[in-house]
Amino acid sequence: MLPNIDLRIGNLVKALEQVILPALPASQRLARDQVRLVIGHLRMLGGQWKTALRYEEISFEELAALARDLAELVEEPQQRLLTSALKETATCDHSSIDALEDANKILGQAVDMTILGGEDHRPLSRAASEAVLEYALRHARRERIWFQANQLDPDRAELPSIASMLATA
């Protein structure tokens, strides 16, 4: 691929920073703010796009593991719901981000319904609660690492790099 994606992202940032932003009057604050956000998004995308597929794959594998754990810890009808979702997503195409996202939605809906316990709000056992919280902590941490370049995270200094996170996942 020539020009490659990194080069094109770099060109976009340069044009925005050196030509477009200086040409906007200071009074156009919203426009200037949005240009800065475009630059920020592009920089963040530059650090993410090569590993986005792997990121979604890890997200799917983690969620599938939670669904399997919960299926052993809950009763019917939640157990059947989880088993069905796991079966439906078992053969999802791991080379497609769209397919992985769709699979995550199917699994996620089954997990949500299990957590809420159906219409009679069936209680979650302590073990099931702990499984959800353990998964949720890893999920939240992964998201924080993935988006740390937005500099909104007050504790971003404690986060490892994306490469490090993916290597240990």
């Binding site: 009074s27 156009q28 604050r29 919203l30 200037r32 703010d33 949005q34 956000l37 475009v38 920020g40 998004h41 963040m44 969620l63 939670l66 996202e101 995550n104 939605k105 996620g108 809906q109 997990v111 949500d112 957590i115 809420l116 316990g117 709000h121 209680p123 979650l124 056992s125 302590r126 609660s129 702990e130 959800v132 919280l133 998964y135 949720a136 902590l137 999920h139 939240a140 941490r141 992964r142 998201e143 924080r144 993935w146 988006f147 937005n150 500099q151 909104l152 995270d153 007050p154 504790d155």
Partner: protein, 396 residues
């Protein structure tokens, strides 16, 4: 500590409130959320041009009076991640100088779907109590302007020091430095005055009040924000379902519902330089009658604070946490219950996650805001709140 949900099921009811009844919600909020769903498909939304804004304003003011008017000096305002805002000057015949005003209107979908009628009523209620922008006109349902809008008097001032550092979206990350000593007492005074306000005697017809001595104050909030989540979520997030359940099953009683600003933090007050005098308390759109702990917990969020060079956390970039709480108690007369405060910290983290990962992502996905790019930027901070939810529910 993990909540043993098996035990919760056998816990006797402590009041008549059904914690799973999703229909228990303020009527006006229900109307707004119904409207959001109904209108969602009308998108995408395009940012209004100056010419369109002038036409909308002319139509609106013509409905107020047949006298000729002129709309000039229209200027789009930045700030906030929610409403589309324009400053403009309204001139009537013989009035060369005119009146400088601000049009604040809903895009098709914002990061938070709120009511301009409620905003107008609460502005008017606090007109003689706190510095707030005067309400010049209201189109609560967009009948004339075409989209819900409020027109406010223009207020001079800044939301962050002109020469300061750490400018960010919606004020996040602002370092007040030496300004803090001037601003902190006014901030706390504003919070206490909001909570001491006698809402019973005010015209707040767009509002409803939860029953004192019950869990209704908390459950109304859980129902509001969980409905926003389920109506808008673009992707399931397991901890959101878990947190909703936790919030229902741990809802505290509110003995004395008060007016809550619900977004009083850095970025939402204006002051003049160099005096540091407050000129306006801003962004009342989330105001409701509820538990004062909710407001305290909101102001204390880590995202809205800063750290000194020595590593001390400053609430809203202004004051250390312990001092914030003790001065608040002194000024308000309210006694803080640490269990309720922690509950509302969880609720507020949930609310922020709903806003960032639910409503903002839905609005941006549909292209229904003039600030889609701001919404996706803020959405990328959602993981911060998700981790806070896990940590706080484990500690509770």
């Amino acid at each position: 500590m993990v909540t043993d949900m098996a035990k919760v099921r056998t816990t006797p009811a402590i009041d008549p409130v059904d914690i799973w009844d999703r229909d228990q919600i303020e009527p006006r909020i229900k109307d707004l959320l119904d409207r959001t769903l109904r209108d969602r498909a009308r998108g995408p939304y395009a940012a209004k041009t100056d010419i369109e804004v002038i036409a909308m304003l002319e139509r609106h003011f013509a409905s107020e009076s047949p006298a000729p008017i002129e709309i000039v000096d229209v200027a789009r305002l930045s700030g906030g991640a929610s409403k589309e805002q324009f400053a403009f000057t309204l001139r009537r015949a013989g009035d060369i100088e005119g009146e400088r005003l601000v049009l604040r209107m809903d895009p098709l979908e914002a990061i938070a779907q709120t009511c301009r009628g409620r905003e107008a009523q609460v502005h008017r209620a606090f007109q003689n109590i706190l510095p707030v922008a005067p309400v010049r006109s209201l189109d609560a349902d967009g009948d004339l302007i075409g989209q819900p809008a409020i027109i406010l008097g223009y207020v001079h001032g800044v939301t962050e020091p002109t020469q300061g550092k750490g400018h960010g979206i919606s004020g996040i990350g602002t370092h007040f430095e030496e300004w803090a000593s001037k601003l902190a007492p006014q901030f706390l005074d504003a919070l206490a005055k909001v909570h001491r306000f006698d809402w019973h005697s005010a015209d707040l017809s767009y509002f409803a009040a939860p029953e004192p001595g019950t869990r209704q104050a908390a459950i109304w909030q859980v129902n509001w924000w969980s409905r926003v989540w389920w109506d808008g979520a673009v992707q399931p997030v397991a901890i959101m379902a878990y947190a909703e359940r936790w919030l229902r099953e741990n809802a505290p009683i509110c003995d004395n519902p008060v007016m809550c600003h619900s977004d009083l933090r850095l970025g939402n007050f204006m002051f003049e330089e160099p005096s540091g005098q407050f000129t306006a308390v801003l962004d009342w759109e989330l105001a409701h009658i509820g538990d004062f702990h909710e407001d305290l917990a909101w102001s204390m969020q880590r995202l809205f604070g800063t750290w000194t060079d020595g590593g001390e956390f400053l609430v809203s970039g202004l004051i250390p946490r312990a001092q914030f709480l003790s001065v608040y108690e002194e000024l308000s007369g309210n006694r803080i219950d640490p269990v309720k405060l922690r509950y509302y910290e969880v609720l507020n983290a949930y609310k922020c996650a709903v806003i960032d990962l639910g409503q903002a992502m839905r609005a941006a996905t549909e292209g229904n805001s003039h600030q889609d790019i701001v919404l996706t930027w803020l959405g990328s901070a959602g993981g911060v709140f998700l981790e806070q939810l896990v940590t706080m529910m484990r500690e509770a």
